[in-house]
């Protein structure tokens, strides 16, 4: 059944039990449908999506030689795949199917106006017929997937993902901009809540990576260019200043980590020697260089959870402060330690226990409010004095101290923006890499074949980073495991004869799917195109058509809605 034959439309109208049939007069709509141009068959079903309904569609296609199918029922957002599959099984290209949404957008919304709802249902069917008459079959292109992954970033997240992918049998390239693997964990002392040595944890993973034959590690290397699309990325990396390498890559994992915020100009940082960040304290503890303090004050949320700018919670700082305070207390039991906090977020498994343990060790927790933050000044004896308004006591107190530790948030690396442009993926409002959907696709990018894990995505601790890395390895392995992919057929196409090469579409395409070819006209890479249609709506020469949502099809639907005769 080709599309060039005479158009023969079948319309299947669903009662959806009483959901539609209880309001819309379905038999009337069936009679109306039968009289529409090119409709050769129409029937109603109690449930078109039931196995009976599906076989009725298939039978209808065979018996009436249908080459276009319309189901008037619920929303295409949930049921279109099912009905399309039925069409395909009966030999009708799935793009010759159209739906009329007479439940979600009709009977359910107009329960108290059955007559008007019936009229609207008729119009919706008429619009579907107007579109179906103009539908063309589409083929979904198939592409091969290179069984090789690129992991950008050789920290704990990147290495975990790489190991996981390599253990599934895929070749993995790790690109790390620093001269050695390890990332943030190289600088950390101990990991909460287990108090395991960070270096011990790190060395296990680094050794596993280095001894894995499927993993190729490129240190002092950065990604310079990424071309192509899922399954077929062509990546150019630069090692050192001069040497470039080209890699053929199937999927890409972004695990570039995060940086520590430097609180310049806040709480006497860089003004007084004994005001340091939590990150610096971590290194002092690691190298055993911390001198015996009498009194330590830690200030939380320094440069985080602000009114504007870094409004986010950095997630790790409460536990890091509790961990380091506990460690100091173990080293120097007589030291007094104060943690000045706004809200204490010890959310994770066993984290609350760490907090209670800290309290039992007489570490003091004092709540301050954002409007009256602590002040750090130099006292008469040269010691630091922290002034704090205790919100619970409703009074100002002064704590002389010999060490002030500022808990600052993780922030995106400086080169994050540049990398996002190279990869053509988005950044969120705070400059971290931004996933396709926070709940439905939390580690995918909107761009197919690229995934994100670890602190490149948002602040998180090692356990969370590792979990996410496992997840990412699974996502990134899928296309490589299936080896061939079918991609979207609803894409834009350029009429080369009309294109003037003005390049408007090249600039507008959010996916970089369009480039000018050697003849100077626009060329759309079908597998990269996501089918938004912005290029078609904007092309100055009207040279781009959006398959399945052509100007002709959409206009036909609009005019059908107005009751104008079919063209």
């Amino acid at each position: 059944m080709g599309a060039n034959d005479e158009v023969r439309i079948g319309v299947f109208i669903c009662h959806c039990g009483i959901n539609i049939g209880g309001i819309v007069n379905v038999p009337k709509v069936v009679e109306y449908a039968k009289k529409l141009p090119d409709v050769v068959y129409a029937e109603d079903n109690l449930y078109t999506c039931s196995s009976v309904g599906i076989s009725k569609i298939k039978e209808g296609i065979k018996e009436h030689n249908l080459n276009r199918v319309i189901v008037a029922s619920c929303t295409p957002r949930t049921h279109e795949p099912l009905f399309r599959a039925a069409c395909e099984e009966a030999g009708v290209n799935k793009y010759l199917f159209e739906m009329a949404n007479i439940r979600d957008q009709c009977s359910w919304a107009h329960m108290h106006e059955p007559e008007k709802a019936t009229e609207k249902a008729k119009d919706l069917v008429r619009m579907a017929v107007a579109k179906a008459r103009k539908l063309k079959p589409q083929e979904e292109p198939e592409i091969d997937v290179t069984p090789s992954a690129l992991v950008i970033g050789g920290g704990i997240s990147g290495m975990t993902a790489a190991l996981c992918l390599a253990n599934q049998g895929f070749e993995v390239h790790i690109v790390e901009k620093e001269p050695e693997l390890g990332g943030m964990l190289r600088h950390l002392h101990k990991l909460y809540p287990t108090m395991q040595d960070a270096s011990e944890r790190l060395n296990q993973v680094v050794n596993a990576v280095k001894s894995n034959k499927r993993i190729k590690v490129l240190t002092s290397t950065v990604v310079k260019q990424v071309k192509g699309f899922i399954g077929n990325f062509r990546v150019t990396v630069e090692k050192g200043k001069s040497k470039t390498l080209n890699l053929e890559i199937g999927t890409i994992v972004v695990a570039t980590g995060a940086a520590n915020f430097e609180p310049i100009g806040m709480y006497g940082y860089k003004q007084f020697d004994n005001v340091i960040t939590q990150f610096q304290l971590e290194q002092l503890l690691k190298t055993r260089q911390l001198e015996r303090p009498q009194r330590v004050v830690m200030i939380q949320c320094v440069g985080a959870r602000e009114e504007k700018g870094r409004t986010y919670c950095s997630r790790i700082c409460c536990m890091t402060a509790i961990k380091n305070a506990t460690l100091i207390k173990e080293l120097f039991p007589e030291a007094e330690i104060y943690i000045l906090f706004r809200d204490l977020q010890t959310y994770g498994k066993e984290y609350e226990t760490c907090y209670l343990d800290a309290r039992s060790k007489f570490i003091q927790f004092i709540k301050y409010v954002q409007e009256r933050p602590p002040e750090v000044t130099s006292g008469p004896s040269g010691k630091l004095v922290v002034k704090i308004y205790d919100a619970l006591l409703n009074s100002e107190i002064e704590i002389p101290s010999d060490l002030v530790v500022l808990s600052t948030p993780l922030i995106p690396h400086e080169d994050t923006k540049e990398l996002s442009q190279i990869l053509k993926v988005s950044l969120g409002p705070h400059g971290f890499f931004f996933e396709a959907h926070v709940k439905l696709r939390p580690i995918d990018f909107a761009t197919d074949g690229i995934y994100v894990c670890g602190t490149a995505h948002s602040p998180k601790d090692t356990a969370e980073s590792v979990s996410q890395a496992f997840g990412v390895a699974s996502r990134a392995a899928i296309p490589m495991a299936v080896k061939r992919l079918r991609t979207e057929a609803i894409t834009a196409v350029v009429d080369e004869n009309l294109c003037s090469g003005c390049g408007t579409c090249v600039k507008l395409c959010p996916y970089g799917a369009i480039e000018k070819d050697e003849k100077g006209v626009a060329r759309i890479t079908q597998v990269v195109c996501k089918g938004c249609g912005v290029c078609a709506a904007s092309c100055p020469e009207n040279a781009i058509e959006m398959c399945h949502f052509t100007k002709e099809q959409v206009t036909a639907q609009a005019l059908a809605a107005l009751g104008r005769p079919f063209a």
Partner: protein, 258 residues
């Protein structure tokens, strides 16, 4: 019978169409007047489609997309916004009320908002009355205006400017100079004016040969202005002199593309 406006809705699949579905799922009632066309993105809405829909007598057109920043296609809704701005400017010149066209953002979770907006727009259109282009006897003058607007929206000059507007604000013009939104707006206004009037002239002389004086009368436009357009249009090969009556030449349209 009371007037029931016909509204055509162009909704993006990911946010607004889902929002419309949610209104139904939540059994939130709204007037039956809207007929929704599902598109993948509000950025797909070609101004030509909207003008054709209005020319054919829709009482209202509603374009709905994801909220700014939430577009499934990253920036498609920003393009929709540019196009609707341009359309409103064009419509203002045609005599058809620009408020018959509305752009709104509705997310997938805003079923209530979708219902509210449809109700509000339906009420607004009821007050405004039927479109002068609805039915079998459309207002000829307004129809001529909307058709000229459609021709202008189809022409590469306007499309190029609107398509490039956003990138020009973000990246500057081809010389790397920063272009402010206000400056561009001014340029857009001028070009819309020019393109609209030239398309009116073209459609008029396509129908019958007319003199500058007659064109000036029909378009209610200064004859010097009309002459200026005529000169450009002749140079571009859009029109030619048909014949000379007394001392005034009468102009006629040439087939475009020749």
């Amino acid at each position: 019978m009371t007037f029931e406006p016909k509204i055509v809705g162009f909704l993006c699949n990911w946010c607004s169409y889902a929002g419309a579905d949610l209104a139904g799922v939540s059994r939130i009632s709204y007037p039956t007047n809207i007929r929704v066309i599902r598109l993948m993105c509000s950025g797909r809405v070609d101004p030509v489609i909207v003008l054709e829909t209005l020319a054919q007598g829709a009482d209202g057109v509603m374009v709905m997309g994801c909220h700014i920043g939430d577009c499934h296609y990253i920036t498609g809704n920003l393009q929709a916004e540019r196009k609707i701005d341009m359309l409103k400017k064009l419509l203002a010149r045609t005599g058809l009320e620009a408020e018959r066209l509305r752009l709104e953002w509705v997310s997938a979770s805003e079923g209530g908002r979708f219902a509210e907006l449809v109700k509000h727009f339906t009420d607004q259109l009821k007050k405004l009355g039927p479109s002068p282009l609805a039915g079998d006897k459309p207002d000829k003058n307004i129809l001529a205006g909307v058709l000229a607007a459609k021709a202008a929206a189809e022409d590469f000059r306007l499309r190029l400017l609107v398509g490039r507007e956003k990138t020009m604000i973000d990246d500057g013009n081809v010389y790397g100079e920063e272009v402010s939104e206000e400056e561009l707006d001014k340029v857009l206004d001028e070009i819309i004016d020019t393109e609209y009037v030239r398309n009116r002239i073209y459609l008029l002389v396509k129908n019958e040969p007319l003199s500058v004086k007659e064109l000036s009368k029909r378009l209610d436009l200064d004859s010097q202005m009309v002459l200026r357009h005529i000169v450009v249009m002749r140079r571009r090969g859009l029109i030619t002199v048909d014949r000379v009556e007394r001392t005034s030449p009468l102009y006629t349209a040439l087939e475009v593309g020749q």
